[in-house]
Symmetry: C2
Subunit: 207 residues, 2 copies
């Protein structure tokens, strides 16, 4: 159904197919935030007024460009990881041996399916860090876009957290579950930083 | 530069062109939320277990499908409204007459540029209302997607607020400025409802 266009992607997301779903949306939010960081850097680099921030902007642009590509790849990876979980649940369960094999396959697929939103959360946390790095030196004409980038990254963190938890909730191995929870908690420390940037930008643009 | 694909749109957002920018990203966040509401409805409608919620889901899907199309159109409208402001600032200002005409044109363009994120905020608030309507009757297998939809809509509200304020801050007419602020404040009452849905979904999916 998805013909590769933005409207096609959204129609595909809206369709009865369970993937792409919330995992892809989370990754796309991170990609939107990264793209806006790149735009702000591009509109600040080379301007004499912001020369003192040139090195910061050049470094942030490189990182944001990478984050955008990675986030977009995670949107695809999420659909594949979802399919692996779905396929595992469809395995036969008529004999003890089949049931054991099915359980093993489901648990392995759940670890993979939790890994994608954990990586999305990592990229989103990076985007928040980039917003923090550029907010003071950004071209004032696009300061609002730094705030929107932080709001996008915040939503990506919230969304990724939901998607990690929906997978860890079905994990039977406490080690895997606790490891995922710890990595997630680490990334979620960026939520308050994102909110602070949204607030700071709101204050500075006035009204 | 934008070739119509998702990757192309993100590259266009990241580019040195100031539009598409944060306004388009805000609208796209609302579209993502609307698309996920449609998906959840599509995966709940027709299932005997959720028959009691059939009418709610059918109505929500109709509204969500409309919201998605409207939000996508707002992403385009934002770029046009931005261009109108940019063009107004480029008008000649050599004579008193030219300066008066330029000021008038800038103010008119600012009203139009604030109108787009106000409409984005309205759509995002509608998406929050749809999330609230479906959260109790949604297919439990896609309950997490209701939470992600609410997170998307919340980010759209935060982003639209920034974009309204960046335009109203430059308005000289207090009537226009106050009207925009009042409409925005009304839509922003949905922020706490969005957060509540994200929280409820997080609680219900466990872990």
């Amino acid at each position: 159904m998805d013909d590769g266009t933005l409207a096609g992607f959204l129609a595909d997301l809206a369709s009865p197919a369970p993937a792409p779903g919330g995992g892809a949306a989370a990754a796309l939010q991170a990609a939107l935030g990264a793209a806006l960081v790149s735009m702000v850097c591009n509109l600040t680099i080379g301007k004499p007024r912001y020369a003192a921030h040139e090195a910061t902007m050049l470094a942030a642009r490189t990182d944001a460009d990478k984050a955008r590509v990675e986030a977009l790849a995670l949107a695809d990876a999420d659909a594949r990881a979802f399919a692996a979980v779905s396929d595992a649940y469809k395995l036969p369960k008529d004999t003890d041996g089949e049931r054991a094999e099915r359980s093993r396959a489901i648990q392995a697929a759940l670890v993979g399916a939790a890994e994608v939103p954990l990586r999305t959360a990592a990229v989103a946390a990076d985007v928040v860090g980039l917003c923090a790095a550029i907010v003071d030196g950004a071209n004032v004409n696009v300061l609002s876009d730094v705030g929107v980038a932080a709001a996008c990254a915040r939503a990506a963190l919230d969304s990724a957290a939901i998607n990690v938890r929906v997978n860890t909730a079905a994990m039977t191995d406490a080690v895997n579950r606790d490891r995922a929870a710890a990595v997630l908690a680490d990334h979620l420390t960026s939520v308050s930083a994102a909110d602070a940037i949204v607030h700071i930008v709101g204050e500075r643009i006035g009204s």
